[in-house]
Amino acid sequence: MTRKQKRGVLIGSGVATLTVAAIMVLFALKDSVVFFHTPSDIIEKAVPAGERIRLGGLVAKGSVVRGEGTTVSFKVTDTLKDIPVTFTGVLPDLFREGQGVVTEGKLDAAGVFSADTVLAKHDENYMPPEVAKSLEARGVKLGGSAHPEDKAN
């Protein structure tokens, strides 16, 4: 093999690997990215049922109802709009009424959000940054800092 051929093999395999990786990245991003919405977003933008999204806001006061087994239903609010949520599983330690929460799952045809993951943060005043930003953008005044996250799924 000549010097040129050797270098060709090297560059060729490099380009091939990067191309394959780039294609994989594009496909994976298309399929696995999850958009974040507030309750107002969902109602205004008419997010279609069945699409996997994250829903964030505050757990509405007085909305938490424990059902059969480990199923829990509650409402997520951004103080302007509410979305009803159901979740089956063990809630994170810091899940509480009136506090920030991020849930991941799908909307059903009736407009109920069926969550399979619930994230809450280990801080009394914590507000997920996405929620805080959205609320601030809507003129709702909030304070908050970040602390380790708590999760259930």
């Binding site: 093999m1 010097r3 050797k6 093999v9 090297l10 395999s13 490099g14 690997t17 990067l18 990786a21 994989m24 990245v25 496909f27 994976a28 991003l29 399929d31 696995s32 990215v33 999850v34 958009f35 974040f36 994250r54 424990r66 087994g69 480990t70 089956t88 599983g89 063990v90 809630l91 330690d93 810091l94 991941e104 280990h122 801080d123 009394e124 997920p128 940054p129 996405e130 930003k133 959205s134 800092s145 970040a146 602390h147 380790p148 996250e149 708590d150 999760k151 259930a152 799924n153």
Partner: protein
Amino acid sequence: MIIEFGHFALILALLVAAFQTVVPAWGARVRDARLMAVAEPAAVSQFFLLLIAFFALMHAYVTSDFSVANVAINSHSTKPLIYKMSGVWGNHEGSMLLWVLILALFGAAVAVFGNNLPSTLKANVLAVQASIAWAFLLFILLTSDPFVRMIPAPADGQGLNPILQDPALSFHPPFLYTGYVGFSIAFSFAIAALIEGRIDAAWARWVRPWTLAAWMFLTIGIAMGSWWAYYELGWGGWWFWDPVENASFMPWLAGTALLHSALVMEKREALKVWTILLAILTFSLSLMGAFIVRSGVLTSVHSFAVDPERGVFILAIMVLFTGGGLALFALRAKDMRIGGLFAPISREGSLVLNNLLLVTATATVLIGTLYPLILEGVTGDKISVGPPFFNMTFGPLMLPLLLALPFGPLLAWKRGDLLAVGQRLMFAAVAALFVVVVIYAVDHRGPWMAPFGIALGVFVMAGAITEWASRIKLGSASREEVVRRAVNLPRSSYGTLLAHFGVGLMVVGIVGTSAYQSERILVMKPGDTVSIAGYDLVFKGAAPNRGPNYREDIARFDVTRGGAPVTTLEPSKRLYDAPPQPTTEAGIYASWAGDLYVVMGDEQQGDGYAVRAYFNPLVRFIWLGTLIMFFGGGISLSDRRLRIGAPMKSRRAHPIAAE
């Protein structure tokens, strides 16, 4: 008083660092031995000054001096002593102090042990190292001063976040930082080499031990963090592709690539330019990790200091060093002579493949981590990139890497014989296929790919054993010869073998627990039984208990298997006094087959509790594998040929010294 003393030492360290940046570098430029020689005492005194500052802060923590704001905010008088000490780095300011302390430690180590370095190279390396320390010291003093007083002092502190009050997590940051920061030495060497415009095999020989040490500590640091997340957070998982996990994983991937390319450079003088670039990139990824963790730009489990000002400062440091390093590289790299040639099928070729795949994998992790940030900046959409992305991109890149791994060390330098190596690996391949057959024959319920994944891990392990057997001529030479060879095999070879074996073991653990985890979530009342993976767990009820600085409800589960008692698990839900925060303590029964893992949830109506039970098969092998990798690195580091300061005479003459 001690606090002011520490504060003063910190400021002095900043001045020493500035001095150490300018004077030796100037000395190297004008070839003045006296100016260059100041680098050593400067590096050592910088380290001792920071040690004084560090112990001053630790003293304040241990004696609960709440007139120090940092202590008041992050500590509490009733906290156990070990967590008072680890509390020093359990917060932003203290952890940055630890960061510069380790940075200075590495600088001082080069000053003390680097006797065999050419004087100009050494002066430049220490100058670059000091410039990094200087930037971070300035950052600490301007934005994150741990020595600020709080007058009047509060009666008691606010306490350390309870989930950080844990033995493994006490030592996780020092190990992790030693790894992160250790790559700064490779960076400093790279910049010094670019400044001098000269690199050769000796350069790689000097850099490799430092890189290896950093890699070892980063390996064990990441493993400890993952282990902690596994048993402390109570989610039953061990890796979440969280931005901060990725922040530590990217330098690890790049550092692993660097370790391998430096080997090619040392043995064959090839890949020189590439190795220099990797050294710059690896430390840049460490800096980016610091930026991600400290700035809170990405939502993460770890973001404990969300402060835009600090974020911008660290971003500036990162841009300065990464940008400066890359600019210097662009200016100088074209002058470097291209080194030794090799055929694509050769040891070098296999190491190039290793680098190609590791660096591409690093890039995919980087894209997945930063994409949400970029998209939000561009379109304003808020998204999250979760584990599916990483499984789809990172996984497929690891497949060829692991498949090729056993081939690499068996191939000859320059030109290898793939067929002959393939024949030698027959035993490993048969062992792997045997595993697939056995798993399918016994009982297989998981994904169809899983047995092949486990087989891949077995192939890597068996490949390491094959390599060992072939190096000592097991089966082909006389017994005395085999023993002699086994004894004389260099430690660095044993290190490589062990590290590769550890990778295989880790893969077995990862695939096993990912593919075969079983999970039950249910509401249990006292007397109820849940069955999982052949175990029966009887819930005996929950009782309150008082710990040193928390209250808890401890549940009891009697575990039996086929009627025979196995153990009693006691998961609990704790509420800490300060800060008043609940945590979940998992009850874990560990065995070689896997971990039985039980977590308590909320109390339900009636007297039931939500309970989550997992069985995580083979999960222990993940950490055992990383531990073996760590020890492999350590054995390799203890090799005389790699030891810092040891004579550089090659032992090539020795019949089996070839790596």
